[in-house]
């Protein structure tokens, strides 16, 4: 009985954090530290609660992206590109229906493949070495600059700026403070959450605030259910885009440390690249754009559990928190004793599957309320969202520097938006800069420069990156307008 209770609570809690702009699963998981005592005597309840939270947050974060044009979590920024224009066109329920159904179906497929066969996957992870990770990073950069953006040169510049910001902090070779301008607050690097909120979310909110009087009332309830059904039909009609996104999400999820942001943008980029001559351009509210990246959403969350459970190595940034939480209640991820603990796997697989279905049902019934948000006067949720963004962005130290830094990020976002530099490229460059630097260092210390081209997996990934560049420069006619 308590299992069901915690499944429902975890799902609702995760859904709430998914819906809250820029919060997402990571912030929700961190808050569990505050009431961890509840789980000390029943550690498997924590497995249920955290798994439900992660799944529900992945579903819930589509709402903020599509309805408000603010990413619900770091893994849902790509959904905004076509999701929000659909909302502006009065098709929010259709976009949400397509997002929820695609995310749930891919979650179920990859959830089955991961959780039912998890103990048998130990050898896969050992095939992915440093050259493969480096090639994967380069493919992510090529995708975000050359496929996702209509101004690829500015995209490269934004990517470089993102990488530079990502390298602020500590030089991994010398240990010396780097590019902090003497501000010790930056000693541990620029923080992702205020950057995401300031660069991606706040400029959109301010723009929406500026145009608040032009706000249109859209949708009746009757239309809403028709649209949801149309969204389901879209998911079936464009199932190949959704399944491809799921496959990309699954591959990215299994690679340690690379989060949903990369999966979503690669999946989105591939959807754009493989769908030419569209009636509605990508970036103007093409439902395929929503389906492509939402396919990657829960698939990535599912496969991120593979390295986490098998080796105690986080498959995505949010898994770092899960490892810490589990350890505090006596569950050691990555230990062989756990791999023979069938009860643990039962709880993990069961909570994943049931919370996915529960989140889907909650999500569908929540659509009518979410869509009604668009009919509220903008000022009603402008300040609550701004306050939530501020709250989320000042959790790093809680001191005044957090506020100053958040303000600087907002200024940067406004400038980039005005001059049409890709903010998505900046965020991807920033999020992966540290990993790019460390992986490059490791690669050139342990391998010859040619190895990345001669090993089968890394060579294939490099070839894909090269194709993405050629395509973006010479053949990309289906350009998006999102910057």
């Amino acid at each position: 009985m308590s299992e069901i209770l915690f499944l429902v609570l975890g799902t609702l809690y995760g859904f709430l954090f998914g819906v809250i702009p820029v919060a997402g699963a990571g912030v929700g998981l961190i808050t569990i530290f505050g009431f961890l005592d509840i789980f000390r005597t029943e550690p498997y309840l924590l497995v249920i609660f955290t798994t439900s939270l992660v799944v529900a947050a992945a579903i819930g974060d589509s709402f903020a992206s599509i309805v408000m044009n603010i990413p619900g979590g770091s893994g849902s920024a790509a959904t905004m590109v076509d999701g929000f224009p659909m909302t502006q066109r009065g098709e929010a329920a259709r976009a949400l229906g397509a997002a929820l159904s695609t995310s749930t179906v891919n979650g179920l497929i990859w959830g089955c493949l991961v959780f039912l066969f998890l103990p048998f996957y130990a050898t896969i992870i050992l095939k992915v070495g440093i050259p493969e990770i480096l090639a994967f990073l380069l493919l992510a950069f090529a995708s975000v600059c050359f496929i996702n953006n209509s101004y690829w040169f500015r995209g490269i510049l934004a990517l470089c700026l993102g990488v530079i910001l990502g390298l602020v902090g500590q030089d991994p070779i010398s240990g010396i403070e780097r590019w902090t301008l003497g501000w010790t607050y930056l000693g541990n690097g620029v923080q992702l959450v205020p950057l995401m909120a300031g660069v991606l979310a706040v400029p959109e909110l301010l723009e929406a605030y500026k145009n608040r009087h032009a706000h249109q009332r859209i949708l009746g309830i009757k239309t809403e259910w028709q649209q949801i059904w149309q969204g389901f039909s879209d998911s079936w009609k464009y199932r190949l885009d959704g399944l491809r996104g799921g496959l990309i999400g699954a591959i990215v999820g299994i690679i340690p440390g690379i989060g949903g942001t990369v999966a979503d943008w690669i999946a989105y980029g591939q959807t754009v690249a493989l769908n030419k001559k569209e009636k509605i351009d990508f970036g103007d509210g093409n439902v395929k754009g929503v389906i492509g990246c939402e396919g990657a959403n829960n698939a990535q969350k599912a496969t991120a559990y593979v390295p986490t459970v098998l080796f105690g190595i986080p498959g995505a940034p949010f898994e770092v928190i899960i490892i810490a939480l589990f350890l505090l209640v006596g569950i050691e991820l990555g230990s062989p004793s756990l791999l023979t603990d069938l009860s643990f796997f039962d709880h993990l697989a069961g909570s994943y599957m049931w919370s996915l279905l529960l989140s889907f049902i909650i999500g569908i019934f929540f659509i009518r309320y979410a869509v009604r948000v668009t009919n509220l006067p903008f000022i009603w949720y402008f300040w609550p969202i701004m306050l939530l963004l501020l709250w989320t962005s000042v959790q790093y130290t809680g001191y005044w520097e957090d506020y100053i830094f958040f303000f600087l990020c907002c200024m940067l976002g406004i400038i980039l938006r005005k001059f049409k530099f890709s903010r998505a490229a900046l965020v991807v460059g920033f999020a992966l800069a540290d990993r790019l630097e460390s992986t490059t260092l490791q690669y050139f210390t342990l391998y010859e420069y040619i190895d990345i081209f001669t090993r089968p997996i890394s060579g294939s990934l490099m070839a894909l990156a090269f194709v993405a560049i050629i395509y973006g420069v010479f053949f990309n006619k289906t350009r998006i307008k999102y910057v």
Partner: protein, 351 residues
């Protein structure tokens, strides 16, 4: 609107704004010291009768959190500092504001580090080892072990360049994965992490443990968790003599600082709650359930509480000599090419 207010309320409660004592951890959530602090906080608050929350103030080399506590927070009678081995290493090698001698210790765990190697490659021919925070003593010990006795500390530089590939830019989890794949052939872990990760690999075998310091004598003795793998013994088995010399003295200095102060709790000297905290800690280490919960994370290691910590500090101070400190700085900047400064004031303070 209601949901927003509810969310803010839940978040405020869950981030523990109503808590009593707080522990300052100079790392991000999920780091080794953060996990240790959260386990200890949960056990300690049972004996203290008041809630303890953990607050993370991360930063470069884990220095800013400790500096902030030193400069701003320590006057608060309910704020406890959780220092770790990286802070102790920085105390010797970097410019920091904090100084252990200005505080009152609550307690610490006398810990150490274990080094393993893969059985499918010979570490004496070539070592591939990851660089990282607090790993200076490990790479010094490895270099001594693969190079053997050499006439002077400068000779170790050439040997290090020939036999040790020091891979920079790897995080703990990347290191573990690279070791499993064979990209690295030597790794290091705390005892608990060693049981959890390298020991599960069939290609892994124990190489050595640094051993722990005997607080009474200041000598390094065998690690109770790895009695047959003490570094000095392994070195003697290989080279026929006990390790000694300038590099060994520098190693011993930084290793003891790092390990003795690897996990330690501090308050201000005038803190009125100090006696209460020490009493709670004594009660905690007498409670088998509490100790079992902590040792599940750290392995079985001795606790040193209250004024006995000062004895340990004096023992450490006695090892700071001009030569050892200069050699440590030379090794760090010249051989492994990391940031370090010579701090003459440490010698004066040690006296």
């Amino acid at each position: 609107m209601f949901k927003t207010i509810l969310a803010i309320f839940i978040l405020c409660i869950s981030t523990s704004v109503l808590a009593d004592f707080r522990m300052i951890v100079p790392q991000q959530v999920g780091g080794g010291t953060d996990i240790w602090a959260r386990i200890v906080a949960k056990e300690l608050e049972k004996k203290l009768g008041e809630r303890i929350i953990v607050e993370n103030i991360p930063g470069i080399n884990d220095i800013p959190g400790f500096n902030r506590w030193h400069n701003e927070l320590r006057k608060d009678p309910k704020t406890i500092m959780v220092a770790h081995g990286g802070n102790a290493e920085s105390f010797l090698l970097h410019k920091v504001d904090y100084n252990y001698r200005e505080y009152a210790p609550i307690g610490l765990q006398n810990l150490t580090i274990v080094v393993g190697h893969r059985t499918d490659s010979d570490p004496f021919k070539q070592v591939r080892f990851s660089a990282g925070s607090g790993m200076n003593p490990d790479v010094m010990a490895i270099t001594m072990l693969v190079c053997g006795p050499l006439p002077s500390i400068e000779n170790y530089e050439k040997c290090f360049n020939e036999k040790v590939t020091y891979v920079k830019g790897m995080r703990g989890n990347e290191r573990r994965l690279a070791y499993m794949r064979g990209e690295l052939n030597v790794t290091r872990e705390t005892t608990a992490a060693y049981y959890k990760h390298p020991r599960q690999l069939k290609e892994n075998t124990e190489w050595f443990s640094h051993g722990i310091i005997d607080i009474e004598t200041g000598k390094i003795i065998a690690d109770p968790n790895f009695p047959g793998f003490h570094f000095n013994q392994i070195y003697k088995n290989k080279w026929g003599v006990e390790p000694s010399g300038e590099l060994y003295d520098a190693y011993r200095l930084v290793k003891n600082f790092r390990d003795v102060l690897q996990k330690s709790l501090w308050v201000d000297k005038n803190n009125p709650n100090r006696d209460r905290l020490i009493k709670a800690m004594i009660d905690m280490i007498k409670d088998p359930e509490s100790i079992a919960a902590i040792e599940n994370d750290t392995g079985k290691y001795q606790w040193i509480v209250g004024n006995d910590v000062n004895k340990a500090l004096s023992s450490l101070d006695g090892q700071i000599t001009e030569k050892a400190l200069k050699n440590l700085v030379w090794w760090t900047t010249t051989v492994i090419k990391q940031d370090a400064i010579y701090k003459e004031e440490l010698l004066k303070k040690a006296k």
